[in-house]
Symmetry: D3
């Protein structure tokens, strides 16, 4: 989260997806070793074949000069600084490691930013501002107060909320995913309230922004990716979320608080999806459907985005038990 250091690093250290702009130039980049193999060329010369990765993709690197010593020194999972020349080989981008001592050097944890290895959304600040504007539109003073206690006054919470994912693998599984998902759901229910006039719009938008707050404690992000915390495993984000809401509920009328807690407690919608109670207000029902839809749409959009646009069909997705049409 150190924007300045990241900017500096980026100057000398392109992301993998940017390497295609560095052909025939030297780079001095930071990557993680994904795989490693010591091999022998036809003429008996040893070389070290590396696959390097960051959050944007992976690339092949070849070390012809210090193959054996580097093979002993380095291990899969090490984050390294690599100096090399970017070339095209067999129609793919490749890094040829320079003939220097320490052309490949292992970094300690404080020498790089884990941002390089964890996917995240780009426009976090923009989304956060959009969320604040939405809070401004809440007319019910109690709901507005609760939202402000979380999203304005509690700086620590805001920091966590902006960098948390909303899932581990299936949907919004990247830093900022929780903010993106919560904001999307809030915008969706907001526009749905214009069609269903009977709904309590302030309650519903508030619930949309708060429904997944427990995830800031359920997940943690490190350079291995997203992991579930002990608290997350043992309580789950629903129970955690209700507790977090209780802690900021001083002075809020009991009935309103109960309705909000119900939105959090029931948003999984069905018992078999881990909901301790079923939605029992129209607002809870709408929140469940919209929340579920946004998760699935996000999932599908990611599947589609990473496919080759030439194909008609995505690969089979075992989570959703189907392929998706790309045309």
């Amino acid at each position: 989260m150190n924007g300045f250091r990241e900017a500096l690093e980026k100057l000398r250290s392109p992301y993998v997806e940017e390497l295609k702009n560095w052909i025939d130039k030297e780079i001095d980049g930071i990557y993680k070793i994904k795989s490693k193999k010591l091999q022998e060329s036809k003429d008996g010369k040893k070389f070290l074949l590396l696959t390097l990765e960051d959050r944007t993709g992976s690339v092949r690197a070849i070390d012809w000069y210090n193959a054996e010593s580097n093979d002993e020194k380095l291990q899969v999972g090490h984050v390294v600084n690599v100096r090399g020349r970017v070339v095209y080989f067999e129609e793919r981008v490749q890094i040829n490691v320079l003939n220097e001592q320490d052309a490949v050097r292992r970094l300690s944890e404080n020498e790089y930013d884990i941002e390089r290895f964890v996917k995240s959304v780009e426009n976090v600040d923009e989304m956060y501002k959009s969320l604040l504007r939405l809070i401004d539109t809440i007319r019910d003073e109690d709901y507005k107060t609760i939202l402000q206690r979380f999203f304005v006054e509690d700086k620590n919470f805001v920091e966590m909320f902006k960098s948390a994912p909303a899932g581990m693998r299936i949907h919004h599984a990247y830093k900022g995913g929780l903010l993106e998902h919560s904001l999307n759901v809030a915008k969706l229910v907001d526009s749905i309230c214009k069609i269903y006039g009977q709904l309590d719009r302030d309650l519903l938008v508030t619930g949309a922004l708060l429904h997944d707050i427990g995830k800031v404690k359920e997940y943690m992000v490190n350079y291995n990716g997203i992991e579930v915390t002990t608290e997350g495993e043992l309580m789950g984000h629903i129970v955690i979320g209700v507790e977090m809401l209780s802690q900021k509920a001083k002075g809020i009328p009991y009935e309103k608080l109960l309705k909000l807690k119900h939105l959090i407690a029931s948003h999984h919608g069905e018992f078999e999806w881990g909901s301790p109670v079923l939605p029992k207000t129209p607002e809870a029902l709408v929140l469940h459907f919209v929340e579920n839809m946004d998760s699935k749409v996000n999932r599908v959009m990611q599947i589609i985005d990473k496919e080759d646009r030439e194909k008609s069909w995505s690969e089979y997705d075992s989570n959703l038990s189907r392929r998706f049409f790309l045309k």
Copy 2:
């Protein structure tokens, strides 16, 4: 569907829910016999106790004058013309049948409008105009053409679509329910497209308006209420709907037609809900969620609307396996 006749009938024939405005007046109304019992008063006098109903509710009627002959003549299910005086008795509205020959007279089918016995939405024409305006916003000429072939050019279809229900019991189970549901879904996906910029809005709105067209052949409305037709039982509205679309598809590019058919074919979303295919485009996924949400919201709103506003909780709804909060 005969607005004029209904207007005339209404003049002389209040609906059950209007009877409270006719206390101590005579009415000449049309009702269906819901139950019938010949009884004897404490002083040995026979009287005929009737329960009469129309689409707005039911009311007690007492015939003290021709009890036995009317008991023989009438049967449960008969639609009758009743002349009587409206009174309050034991804190309820009641009709005292007049002492006249044929004060209760059975009607043949062409003497009344079945509208009196089937619930329907009020603002059909307004909703239809709203639907036409939505069609005007479609920019894709092919999708617009298909919509116009159904909703503008095919007068017979329009008539059926405006008076069909969208379900038998659970949701939108009244005349006009199909129009209401289709329009709601179309408006909802339209507003959702503003948030999900990647969706094909014209495809999705078109699919929303067409997804349930098969229901015009699946259900039929008569004075018993809503019944499933033989075609509906044997094919179901999904297969019927795809066939109806094919019949109006001349000249439409194959790929667009296929996407539309997919929206109809997959809108139930899961195999166990009778979907022959799963949604495999983002549009199909969104249509399924929104369609499902609108059905449930309609269901819940009806449950809430018919409850006493004094209570905190509705009766237990066995279809949704829960009570609903009314506050």
Copy 3:
């Protein structure tokens, strides 16, 4: 809950199941009207046929003297004081109402104890003492502290806990049912810990006593029987229970508290049974199985107890989808 008043009432007012000991004696009892019918004997005399009930059963009563006036005055659901003579008629116990003004008199809510109409366990105090002795055996000071805060120091909680049911219909659906169930589960896991040496016995017994505490706020008992509260419907006893535990957790080490919360949060064992998380410690797994077993055993024992011991098989129980063998 007023033991003295109940004792007094009992003196003059036998429970229905005791009436068989009062044949040919006069009683002055308190019952609820379950049904009521004004009838006429073969010789044209009007009589009022009542079915009266309390928590122990129901009995027929006949009023030959003020049939019509009482028919007008009384309604199903009224709690009444009845003076009459107990007789055998057609092989059944029956109350012949006396020929007096007000032989059947409606009571206001403060004239009777709702205990008469709600089933409850008998040995509440004994069970509570047994629970306290179990708490004494806990060696871990933190767990013991929590238990004492609930079961010793919080008098209001103790009162509620002793009179709450553990279910609405299926199991332990009577006053004191929660205490009975919690104590049973605690004793069971205690004895199981002797066989599974690896389990943390103090944690498990503590969790057993606390797992259903949320039910003191989920249910309420009145003279209609057991009802779910608004808080119970909207949050469920799992979420409520975790919150109640949090409120008494000051000074308890975080890790222990988390394990206890996990026992509460996961005790339903499977998502489809409303568990927001799955059991992830051996203790949580054992608690789930034992808790489930005790509910089912209680259910079956009640089915068996109320059957005629002459029969080989109980009636079909639709909740458990089977009959039970009675021999």
Copy 4:
């Protein structure tokens, strides 16, 4: 589908399963490269190890002469013409590639018949004649007319029907599988009609032959094996099949057509198996059971056939969740 070319090819080009009859002879065969590895013998000589396959199995081939150039030239998936000598080596059949230029030569798509690489039933023509004979036994002129429009008059359909599979992986997953399955089901229901006298035999046999016709558009066979078409993914063979029937339904009485469509629409039998409607005639019920049984029996027979007859039990089949007894 070019029988003559296949005959010619076969002369000079044995299938893999026939190679055991060519030991020590030279062949000039057509195979697909399944895997490829450049290796070095103990004495430092490079050789190219190939696995070649066709629809009957796979075989090892070794190229000692042009290993490196062929390694560069060839890729997995290429269909090649191989000249070599068939030998036994390490108890397995093997092809030793000849020392000639182009002993292994890549073929373009029009140089071979994809039949070599797709499994198919042998007796297609015999089965087709059997199907025609069955059509002759239909006494109802309307059903017979429909069958003839498909299976006699529509040459294009007949061609597709004879070469389509009835599944992708689980059952009848080979060319001709659809014909085999449809004929089997028709024969089975025919013989069942002799036992259930009340069934409409003509309707049922017709439905059996037509129930899966949509599969001619759902699947496509190419040298990669069986793939689902875009139309198949988006509509499924049930909806496609009903549409195909509609297109040949001119002049057929509405009621008969509806019954036939119902057989197609309901043959999956249960909603969770993708049936948009449940079977609602005895014929539809029987068709569903027989169709399902034939699929499973075919699946099991294939499992059994490919196992070693010495074993008592097949490998575990994860699709059917069991092993099968082979004795």
Copy 5:
């Protein structure tokens, strides 16, 4: 089972469905009292209204002469001898009870045959002969021996098998149903073996005849209808059937016996349908499908047979969750 007595009874005692042939004649019949009501005519005369039934239907009877004494003497469930005159009244057949002492007389259990009150198939002996002929066609001596031990040599078993039902409510729920079902299944698998040449026909036919033999001990028929025995409830017909087979298995090769036991043990096909093992031979798979199909077809045929042929659709059947088409 006393054919002679039944013949005699029938002479003087028509079944309910035959009463339409006795209009204006006197009968002396045996029926069970289904309901009973003492009523008063308009002129103040008491009459006793009875509904009488036997296995063929129910009929109204009126006693004008001994209404009150008979009302006291008789109870619902009594089997009675009724003398009366058959008439048409209000378009229905009715019995006017004669003015005689004991015109309605209660019978003790040995005065009538319970056959009158339990539905049964008509052609039991014919079906049994058909079964014996099928046994003659078994070529494997071991399987034939087992079948003969049951169906030829064990007279007690034969008697039970011929009069047992194959179900309680859903299918073949009448005396002789087990024979009918077993024979049907055997004939069906026999004809299926002609199409699937690989099946072991002798094994399969033997298994078909034996698969449900446990039902002779699972059900018992008395004048209340069909009841499950204690042994049936506690073990189920699958476990009972395997045990019965073991007891007649002396000298049969172990492997054949095991295959037969497998057919019995697995014929429910899926765990959730109470099968302790899944079908693991092709024969077991076919037996399961055919057995299941025959149950459903029987169920549907009974639904259809009892409906009015004028209607297009049966009533909704909640067991199969659908209506059936009657045209």
Copy 6:
């Protein structure tokens, strides 16, 4: 089962898990070859890399002296006698094979005890004595007689029971597992009977000891591990167990026998878990819950035991769909 030979072997042949005590010593051990790879060192020297295993774990072995000849001679799955020196290399225990002819020598089946390769519980005899003591506490002579027929008089059964597993993979999947599970369940129900006074303790303990006896015929243990027998696949341990009980039931009152058979037949508890009947006595219900709990607890304890105690969470267990907390 030859304890003496095993003792001898152990002298000269440490188990894998004991090798860490043999560093720098020579061993002469018996292991199975798990994997094998011929490799070349940097200086061009061939060596054979083996992974050896027994029931306690696996270890790396290197043969520098007869690499190529041993590579040809040995295959994965061979049981071998290995002479070598135990060393630490790269922080792991490793065996350096000696430079001798036959330092690695394949053994025939009678040269080793399969105990070396199958996991088993240690305290079989102690558990067996504990089981006998439990039998002594049974007061009902009939139940005691049955237990003695199995566990005392039938030496062959006792031998099988002591060495059988109770499962293949999920729980108690090792020799002695059946004894361990049965004894555990019996002890658990015994202690539960002290809390539920209404249960028939003798019946329940007897049922607990017998519930899984069919598993002695369902599984067989050989050097490949645990396999299901043909009888086990075709009948399952429930049906086998009931039959085994029948064979030892001479002279036992029918009713008691039936209750015991019911405990065996219903112990899987639900149809979908392969139970042919549901538990219909309180004892059957308790046996099901306890049996299920013991299986799960055993499963979880094994997961926990094999994890590194430093970690907080186990690996994800796909059978139970969760991770387990290790702290």
